[in-house]
């Protein structure tokens, strides 16, 4: 999911706070909900000009650490979209923080923090849910791909060679080569076809 889509979707949500960060994690834009910081979010709303990545890294709170890791992963191009869901205890609201790459804007990312859960004590306790392991902030392998790499993977699955993919996407052959190599590496495959087979089996490419 691209950053714009995430942002547009979240703007429609009540109590969503949105921040845009540049390539080093500095906040460059926020929406009113983020700026207002009603205190409900439990984590500080880092203001424009401050570094969200560094600020969250200084907190011992696991959610802050997870968000920092997610931002770093998105900025490094390792993932395009990341979600962290958190509830500190059964009586607290649940927060969903999404970090997404800003499509077409270089290394920037958008961070959206919103309340998604109720306060009802009967609701199942849900601790921080992070698609990460060993400190490495990853979703499943398919989520590591950039939007362009996903397009390339779709065309690989159709059996196209690099020249045909370059013609189809109107990009340079050498650029396609780079994307194909990245796809193979990110999917943990040893070969072009193993990457396609893995994507096909996991439903990351159309089965039509």
């Amino acid at each position: 999911m691209g950053g714009e889509v995430v942002a547009r979707s979240a703007i429609d949500q009540q109590r969503a706070g949105i921040a845009v960060v540049d390539s080093d994690g500095t906040v460059t834009w926020t929406d009113e909900a983020w700026a207002a910081d009603d205190g409900e979010a439990s984590l500080p709303r880092v203001p424009i000009g401050a570094n969200l990545l560094e600020a969250y890294r200084e907190y011992s709170d696991p959610r802050a650490q997870a968000i920092a890791n997610a931002i770093a992963a998105v900025l490094e191009g390792k993932v395009t979209y990341f979600e962290i869901e958190h509830r500190s205890d059964p009586d607290s609201p649940s927060f969903l923080t999404s970090v997404a790459a800003l499509r077409g804007s270089g290394a920037g990312a958008v961070v959206i923090d919103k309340v998604v859960g109720g306060r009802e004590p009967s609701e199942r306790h849900r601790p921080t849910v992070v698609r990460a392991s060993g400190g490495a902030p990853f979703g499943h392998e398919g989520e590591r791909l950039t939007p362009r790499e996903r397009e390339v993977l779709d065309l690989m699955a159709m059996g196209l060679d690099n020249r045909a993919i370059a013609a189809k996407l109107r990009i340079e052959y050498t650029t396609v080569r780079g994307h194909v190599r990245a796809v193979i590496e990110k999917l943990g495959a040893r070969s072009r076809l193993e990457a396609v087979a893995r994507a096909y089996r996991n439903g990351w490419v159309p089965k039509g």
Partner: protein
């Protein structure tokens, strides 16, 4: 059905065509391959590309020189006889194959013959599944070109899965014991990825190897 063959004549290859040669050991391969190559050398309006693992193409040409009793120095210098090398990266291998074909085509040769010596799961060669994709892709690459390709599959060296999925499913024609036949097992390249490659036994399950 057999095509254009009697007991004395060499096979008559359709143009374009992508043919697998099934043979058992080098002794069976040499006569068929050297005859195929010799025809290109003998005809000035034809060109020849020898493709395979590093060193294989050169060795084939030396064998042919010995067979014909003269060197091809002038033809090689003129680029009528070329050598292409396989590569462990299938995309690079495809480029190594297409680039000389395009060059020979641009220079207007009436026919380009290539010999692509097959290897399986060895260093300097793509992984098997990528090699199968390459073999299937050959059919698209030569579809509009005056090209005839002969791919020797050594039954003594290539595993059964290589013969079944490669020789028999990626070549529209099979040459065996001197007889050229249309191949009913052939799967067109636009169906090969989904019908075969994604179903390869070693690509199934979580433990891909």
């Amino acid at each position: 059905m057999s095509i254009g063959r009697d007991e004395r004549a060499a096979p008559v290859y359709p143009v374009p065509s992508h043919v697998c040669l099934l043979h058992h050991g080098e002794a069976e391969m040499r006569p068929a391959v050297l005859e195929f190559m010799r025809e290109a050398v003998d005809r000035p309006n034809e060109a020849l590309l020898c493709f395979g693992e590093p060193g294989v193409g050169e060795r084939l040409l030396r064998d042919l020189e010995a067979h014909m009793g003269h060197e091809f120095t002038a033809d090689r210098r003129a680029g009528r006889i070329m050598v292409g090398e396989a590569h462990s990266d299938v995309d690079q291998q495809l480029e190594n194959f297409i680039a000389p074909l395009e060059e020979l085509r641009a220079r207007g040769f009436a026919l380009v013959r290539f010999v692509g010596v097959v290897a399986w799961d060895v260093r300097h060669f793509p992984p098997p599944e990528d090699f199968l994709w390459f073999e299937s892709k050959m059919n698209e690459v030569i579809a509009e070109l005056p090209v005839v390709g002969l791919c020797p599959y050594d039954l003594a060296r290539i595993p059964a899965r290589g013969i079944a999925y490669g020789a028999l499913e990626t070549h529209p024609f099979v040459l065996c014991d001197g007889v050229l036949r249309e191949n009913p097992q052939f799967i067109p390249p636009d169906r090969y990825v989904r019908e075969r490659l994604l179903r390869l036994p070693w690509l199934q399950g979580e433990g891909l190897s």
